[in-house]
């Protein structure tokens, strides 16, 4: 089952709004389950890196918050007067860091789902004509960083296979082949763009994506979820004012649950469409 990229973008915007606005642990838990459900049909498309980054981002605020904040009434332990780290280490700071880390993890997870479900080329092709050139250049520029990292890895591996030194000491020796590889890739980009008529007046499309009823459903559910989060935001959770979070309203739960629509559509589709997923 493939949804329209714009429907996925609407879902991602609504999910990001929920992740940013709802800092309530109950809603964060439900949103994480929703994202896992939506991600499940597309798992296996190299999303492990996103979860590693998300976990790292989730742990970092906990460490910083509990180590640097001295506020709170539930003292876990006290350290002697060491600069910066000395003093009371409190449970409130730990919970506040965990809440922030959970929000970051959710944001990364949303982008992970978007990465696995939408091709950047599909998004660029749907840009309005006056943004098409800028969008293409932007996507190529963004793709430059991971491709450079991949090039460094391949060059390092080639050096190891030849019995040459690897590691950070070999970094100067990598510069010249890396520069040549990057220039070669840039030339290939230019030739590809020229071969596809980039810059000509009319833009051609290989395949024009159509809107299916499922796209309308996902778009409508995401829009309603976004409006509910913006117009009826839940009570904010402030661990320093009270460790026990306030319980969200049914509206808050409903706004999060609406984001599970893509997973519901997958669950109710016909069996013979399974092959479309892979």
């Amino acid at each position: 089952m493939s949804l329209n990229p714009l429907a996925w973008c609407a879902w991602a915007v609504a999910a990001l709004a929920v992740a940013f606005v709802d800092r309530n642990p109950y809603l964060q838990l439900v949103l994480l389950m929703v994202i896992l459900n939506v991600w499940l049909p597309y798992r296996g498309r190299a999303t492990g890196g996103y979860w590693k980054v998300g976990t790292l981002l989730a742990v970092t605020p906990i460490v910083f918050s509990v180590a640097l904040s001295r506020f709170g009434q539930h003292v876990l332990f006290r350290l002697p007067d060491i600069p910066i780290l000395g003093g009371r280490w409190t449970l409130e700071a730990l919970v506040f860091g965990a809440s922030t880390g959970a929000a970051l993890l959710l944001v990364v997870a949303v982008f992970g789902v978007l990465q696995t479900t939408v091709r950047s080329a599909d998004l660029v092709s749907r840009l309005p004509p006056f943004l098409y050139r800028a969008g293409t250049v932007f996507v190529l520029a963004v793709a430059f960083a991971p491709q450079t990292v991949a090039a460094v890895r391949s060059i390092s591996e080639a050096r190891r296979l030849r019995g040459q030194r690897s590691g950070w000491r070999a970094a100067p020796a990598l510069l010249v082949p890396l520069l040549l590889t990057t220039l070669e890739r840039a030339m290939q980009y230019a030739e590809s763009l020229d071969a596809r008529g980039y810059g000509s007046r009319h833009r051609s499309r290989y395949q024009r994506a159509s809107w299916q009823p499922a796209d309308h459903l996902v778009l409508a559910a995401s829009t309603v979820s976004l409006l509910l989060v913006i117009l009826l935001p839940p009570t904010p959770y402030m661990p320093y004012q009270g460790l026990v979070p306030p319980f969200p309203t049914l509206v808050g739960f409903g706004a999060v649950l609406l984001l599970a629509f893509p997973a519901l559509l997958f669950a109710t589709r016909r069996e013979h469409h399974v092959a479309d997923l892979v």
């Binding site: 439900v30 009371r88 402030m238």
Partner: protein
């Protein structure tokens, strides 16, 4: 710093400006006398008695950090857990410097007020508004030195000054509640009360949480069960 009228008594001026929608007196000036060399900002509020003699509603962040939530009955209803919406009105603390009013960047218990200091509190939205232009001598006019015998028997006392409108918009004048006679004994305790004592006083007026209900937990449990079932169903279909 202004010289104190008495060798053992120090004075600090306090200006409290209510919000624009406040029904009562908009501006209140108080001249607070105290025996200690310095007192905390929260102690100044308590000694001034601007909250009808009660300590101001505060929130204790732990570690000695205290935020003031209600002064002189404003806001009428203290929001749950002391704070309302972030963008809503709140009390902000200011200190007078030669360059004008400067916002305090620490909690009311995190700084000390000494003799001749001028403190201001305003109730406004966002980052607060500056208090009106006031000088220390307007709030605490110079007094003649008392007789030596009176000085020997006098303890730190609280004096109140009725507010005078210093801005055209500040037309309301607080009714002088009770100007203490010169011989009144100190309303304030000889030493600043401990934070625990203040919090014990203020915590009694906080709204009690409603009794816990099982309905929200049932809702959460149902949602988690539904999403877990959906995950298992999709996992089975994905694997098939």
């Amino acid at each position: 710093m202004h010289a104190s009228a008495h060798a053992s008594t120090h004075r600090a001026a306090l200006v409290v400006e209510h919000g624009s929608s406040w029904g009562g007196p908009h501006l209140i000036w108080k001249c607070v006398e105290f025996a200690q060399a310095t007192i905390s900002g929260i102690a100044l509020l308590e000694l001034a008695g601007v909250n009808s003699g009660q300590p101001p509603q505060v929130y204790d962040w732990g570690g000695g950090a205290i935020t003031v939530c209600q002064i002189n009955g404003e806001p009428r209803q203290v929001p749950d857990r002391c704070f309302g919406p972030v963008s809503g009105p709140n009390w902000s603390d200011w200190r007078a410097t030669p360059a004008g009013w400067t916002p305090r960047n620490s909690g009311a218990a995190g700084y000390q007020v000494g003799d001749g200091d001028l403190e201001g509190w305003t109730y406004a939205a966002g980052f607060g508004s500056r208090p009106p232009s006031v000088t220390f001598s307007q709030v605490c006019p110079p007094v003649a030195p008392p007789a030596p015998a009176a000085t020997a028997t006098r303890r730190p006392a609280l004096t109140e000054q009725p507010a005078v409108p210093v801005r055209a918009s500040a037309t309301t004048m607080p009714a002088p509640t009770s100007t203490p006679p010169p011989t009144i004994e100190a309303l304030a305790p000889p030493a600043s009360p401990t934070p625990q004592a203040r919090l014990a006083t203020t915590s009694t007026s906080r709204p009690t949480p409603p009794p816990a209900s099982l309905a929200p937990l049932l809702v959460l449990g149902t949602m988690i069960a539904f999403l877990s079932g959906l995950f298992a169903w999709n996992l089975r279909r994905r694997g098939s």
